[in-house]
């Protein structure tokens, strides 16, 4: 039992950690341009190289590039009915859904208010989907590289276009190719064909036509193996199918599930060490790595423990409970709320909570995946996050709220950098020196930029959640009452703002095709709100740190001395952990209490 539950999560953490060492060396080698490109690649590099850039030019290129990507994505999706590779005649998506989807894929969020198998043609899957899977993932990594170059006071921040090229061609393509082959071998389809019509064994399982004939089942296929590899490696998380990694074509076996999960971890893990290698601060990056690993292990253990080892509280017996609550209509102003005893349902729960799990992968695979996918801002799912035990579901939310262990490619390390700057600012003063990071003094301007980048995230989660919680936009969309309904909204905005993309399904956000007669009532509001949140939470926290690093890097470097705060010690690790936990708790403890904790502690129908 113990082995069955814990082997998978720990094997994953160990494998990803081991792979991070060689991979980070390769990453640093490529990003520092120490390779000798093939003649044809060299020719391309010369063509796209627009010269060394400063932080404004680099950020400008980043924004322009994204604008082009946005327009391109919008064109592909809005022309879907008229484009090739669409034998099943998929029609036009609702405009708000297109906006949401384009924003979402461009930013590596991949929040899906649609289902790929129902709403996308293979052309859209390839030219919109796969394109964005590669490129959006490269943007965060490029930004991190630029920040590293700034921090080590390079003459320029590099060239954005060259960085994107290096990431996509030399990093993503080869690794994705290997993973695609694994998925292909395990059973994922890889074809231009769109669907198969099959006769079901049980006659009429798919319903009958007006004439009384049994309908055939439509099985959607496509270039799934290629899609899947980059979906996971790029921590994108937007599935080919609506069911994402729980679908047997995306994730056919327990082995493919292992690689699926591993794929989303390797780049975020390796990037932290790349940071150390490129800055020549290996010990510092190992300290960061250990801090991240500790936090990640905590979230994984938390989720698995409360979901796989603990029963569903709603199905567990408990005594009658009596609560005193105010009642303005009663004479005393108070009334008692009585919750009757539950004797427990005849459900065997020794395997934990099995609702919404793919049993092919094992009992703990869903919880493990849920924790990891939110920690690395991937957002793919192989089990129903909505069905996690309430208190277990706190952990994926924490992963998205803190968004820095290990976080998305580049972005997670950048977020961690912000926590480092804030932590050092406080601690540096405590040792009696003007705070400095890597020998650069942290001044007002750097602090301002770090704070802007750090503020966006809680703002984009808490304010919209508040607005939706009090209006019909939220109240009409939730599928569960009380605390769980609140969690659904909270999760949706957390996922959008963390550029994660997973969701508590059940929230009514899908409009579907433009001609859909019964769209979810508040789908437009959700499309627009989350789309905007996604964009704000992507670009401000990307560009402000680039500027911050540029200002830091332009400062004179002071030498290391006895009075300097060391960033490669256990003390520093504790400081960093403390900073992250305290800031995180202060920001999100109230909503955690209103959502998962209230649901966990509350009786049915309020929670449980």
């Amino acid at each position: 039992m113990f082995i069955q539950t814990w082997l998978l999560p720990f094997a994953l953490l160990a494998t990803a950690t081991l792979m991070a060492f060689p991979l980070s060396q390769y990453l640093a080698w490529v990003m520092d341009g120490q390779y000798q490109p093939l003649p044809v690649f060299g020719w391309v590099e010369k063509k796209i190289n627009s010269g060394p850039q400063n932080w404004k030019q680099y950020s400008g290129s980043l924004l322009i590039f994204n604008s082009v990507l946005f327009i391109f994505g919008y064109l592909v999706l809005s022309l879907q009915p008229w484009l090739p590779l669409n034998p099943d005649a998929k029609t036009l998506l609702a405009p708000s859904a297109i906006f949401n989807t384009v924003a979402s894929f461009m930013t590596n969020t991949d929040l899906q208010h649609y289902a790929g198998d129902q709403h996308f043609s293979n052309f859209s899957q390839i030219f919109f989907g796969i394109t964005n899977l590669f490129i959006s993932a490269a943007i965060g990594l490029s930004a991190l590289t630029a920040i590293i170059r700034a921090l080590r006071s390079d003459a320029s921040m590099g060239n954005f276009f060259i960085d994107i090229w290096r990431v996509v061609v030399y990093l993503f393509v080869p690794v994705a190719f290997i993973f695609a082959l694994i998925f292909l071998q395990q059973g994922s389809p890889m074809t231009y064909k769109s669907s198969y019509q099959v006769t079901t064994l049980e006659q009429g399982a798919m319903g009958t036509t007006d004439k009384g004939e049994a309908k055939p089942q439509t099985i959607v296929v496509g270039p799934v193996a290629a899609f899947e590899a980059m979906k996971m490696l790029g921590t994108n998380g937007g599935g080919f199918y609506g069911m994402n990694s729980a679908h047997p074509f995306e994730n056919p076996t327990a082995l493919s599930n292992f690689f699926n999960t591993l794929a989303m971890m390797i780049f975020p893990f390796a990037l932290v060490l790349m940071y150390g290698r490129m800055l020549n601060q290996m010990r510092h990056s190992l300290v960061i790595f250990m801090v991240m690993l500790t936090l990640m292990a905590c979230t994984v253990i938390w989720t698995v423990y409360f979901d796989t080892e603990k029963p569903n509280p709603a199905l567990t017996s408990h005594l009658a409970r009596l609560y005193q609550i105010p009642n303005p209509t009663a004479a005393s102003g108070k009334m008692s709320l009585e919750i009757p005893a539950i004797s427990g349902l005849p459900v065997d729960q020794h395997l934990g909570n099995l609702e919404g799990k793919e049993m092919r992968f094992g009992t703990s695979a869903g919880a493990t995946f849920a924790a990891l996918t939110t920690d690395v801002t991937c957002g793919a799912v192989n089990a129903e996050a909505d069905s996690l035990n309430p208190i277990a579901a706190l952990s994926p939310m924490v992963g998205m709220w803190l968004n820095c262990f290990f976080g998305g490619k580049g972005v997670g390390m950048i977020n961690m950098l912000l926590f480092i700057i804030i932590g050092i600012f406080l601690a540096g003063m405590m040792v009696g020196r003007t705070p400095e990071y890597l020998g650069k003094k942290i001044g007002g301007r750097e602090i301002k930029l770090a704070i802007i980048a750090l503020l966006v995230h809680p703002f984009m989660i808490l304010i919209p959640t508040g607005i939706f919680a009090a209006t019909v936009w939220g109240m009409n969309a939730i599928s569960n009452p009380a605390a769980h309904g609140f969690s659904q909204m909270l999760y949706q905005f957390s996922s959008a703002s963390a550029n994660n993309g997973s969701a508590f399904d059940g929230l009514g956000v899908t409009f579907g095709f433009y001609n859909n007669p019964n769209p979810a009532p508040e789908a437009v509001a959700w499309d627009i709100a989350t789309g905007l949140v996604i964009m704000f939470s992507r670009f401000l926290p990307l560009i402000a740190p680039i500027a911050m690093a540029a200002f830091l890097g332009s400062k004179k470097s002071s030498p290391f001395g006895m009075g300097t705060l060391r960033v490669d010690t256990f003390t520093f690790a504790v400081l960093l952990l403390g900073t992250i936990i305290v800031i995180g708790a202060l920001l999100f403890l109230p909503v955690a209490a209103l959502g998962p904790i209230a649901e966990h502690l509350g009786p049915i129908p309020f929670g449980g």
Partner: protein, 710 residues
Amino acid sequence: MNISPEISPDQLGPVRRVTRRALFEKQTSLAALKQAFVMLRPDIQWKNPVMFVVEVGAVLTLIFILQMLWGHEKISVPITYYIALDIWLFITILFANFATALAEERGKAQADSLRQTRQDTIAYRLQDGKAKAVSSAILTRGDHVVVTAGQIIPGDGEIIEGVAYIDESAITGESAPVIREADGDRSGVTGGTTVLSDRIVVQITGSKGDSFLDRMIALVEGAIRQRSPNEIALTLVLSAFTLIFLIVVVPLWPMSYNAEQYMMGYLGVSEPIKSLGTNIPTLVALLVCLIPTTIGALLAAIGIAGMDRALQANILASSGKAVELAGDVDILLLDKTGTITIGNRNATQFLPVGKYSENDVGVMAAMASASDNTPEGKSILKLHSAQSEIGIKVPEKSTFIPFTAQTRMSGVDLPDGRQIRKGAPDVIMQFAKDHGGSIPKELDAIVETAASKGATPLLVADGNMIIGVVVLEDILKPHIHERFARLRKMGIRTVMITGDNPRTAAAIAALAGVDDFLAEATPVKKLEYIRKEQAEGKIVAMMGDGTNDAPALAQADVAVAMNAGTEAAKEAANMVDLDSDPTKLIEVVEIGKQLLITRGSLTTFSIANDVAKYFAIIPALFASTLPWLQPIDIMHLHSPTSAILSAVIFNALIIPALIPVALNGIRYQALGADALLRRNLLFWGLGGVILPFIGIKLIDMIMVSLNLVS
């Protein structure tokens, strides 16, 4: 002239002019209290963004109470709760204002005592060679004034003629008079000090209202309080935290409304169910508890108190920034003489060569020094008279040959034609050779041994005969080794500057325990050294007194000039040490570090405090809509309203409780950065998390036992 220019050997612990004041003196406290109310004016309060937010919240709550009194707002909780809440919000602001005002009042008291030295006196201004009595107030830069024994020097200036004993106790508090003389590195005088002997002519260098002291007074009084870069950055961080908590608290209203709606639906009641989560004053209370009010209240006081501490150490700083920068110093340049060693070199040994005896060396050396007024010469005489009872007799009509930089020797030509000389080894050897003498074999070894011990050997020759060696040794100040060890622990590298040759310098450096030395230093060499270190990103501090130090002082990041030093040095420096104590830099560094540590620790404490407040307030907010959140309340507080009041009261009381810490500063200990961080993180960070749990529970228990809460 019977004035000996010797420096008192004990300059390590100068007497403080201002002894540490009691924290809460009645007079200053009352003035501060009054000022605290004045500062409630929004246009003044605005300068402290964190407390301004509290003020807005307190006014909002007041409006809410008034609305309730007029019956516009439905009350679900007794109105006394709101009134108590509002009172405590205002008390919070008053505590904060009091802290700032108290620091300012204390500064003012300091400044007043300084200003007393500035009172108008009669000055005798030289006009056309005649002294004319005028008021000191009308003196301008460049005026020459005559000051004689018993008179007060009318303004800051430089002696251009004469030498005098001066009582500087008005400024430094030290009663022993000091020597100031023209044409030296000790020519600076300060207005308000008294001449005890002789007559001097002083050239006034600062006009009224523009002297260093005036600027310092203004700085301490807060009249021109510029915030240092670190303080600005910290203010930004605090504002950001305020904004963050606004982002946290504001959406709680609709979220609580959501919970209320559901509870109403479940119970099927039509009357709205109100929780404290949609209650504006309660949300204001939550916000006030969360935003960093503790550090926000004390930040200004910490800065003012830092300047105050510098003043208490008899340091006049040109800005708070300079003091703060001192905390960052990487390299400390110290003059050997007077800082590492006591005064000048003393003769300690006579070493004979050849057929001569020790006494011969002593006699010859003493004769050569008989009219040598340099400290070295005097020490030779002193040593000789200590070793033999028979004094020396220099025959009449002898000619004394003074020391010059060209000859590098001095001595006496006796009437019988004997030429007695003492001087640097190479010069005397040449002198002996020139007169046909030979060099004893063992001489080289003796000279070598003396030099390698850090001593300076002088040769004594009688015509062509070399008689022996006089060993001049530097005497290290007591405890200097410990001081450097302490600096090393602070992470500061000490560099000794000396005119000695590299070998002697190395020996003394090793003896004193400095990390590095700059031998045969010239002004240009010092300047180059500083520039080189700065190019590597280091912050260089330097202490100097002479005019030739001015370029290096101007280049150094932290430059402390001695008050006794020349005006050029003082102008180039950003701090002046009134005690003219060369080891004062160590104290300046500590004051700078203390400033930052106090700020950092109190900020950490302030933020760490919030964790406990959440545990008190969150269950209280949702007591009527999510009563099952009660297990979060690990403090088991009496009721929702008492929980919120306890948190607010704790939040207010912690401010005055920490005023002593803010004003006295958190002591800096030279432990190395890591150990210091562990210590402060544990004490202020972890302590900051735990303390409020205890404090809030205690306040709750007290209120319950006094029947103050329902």
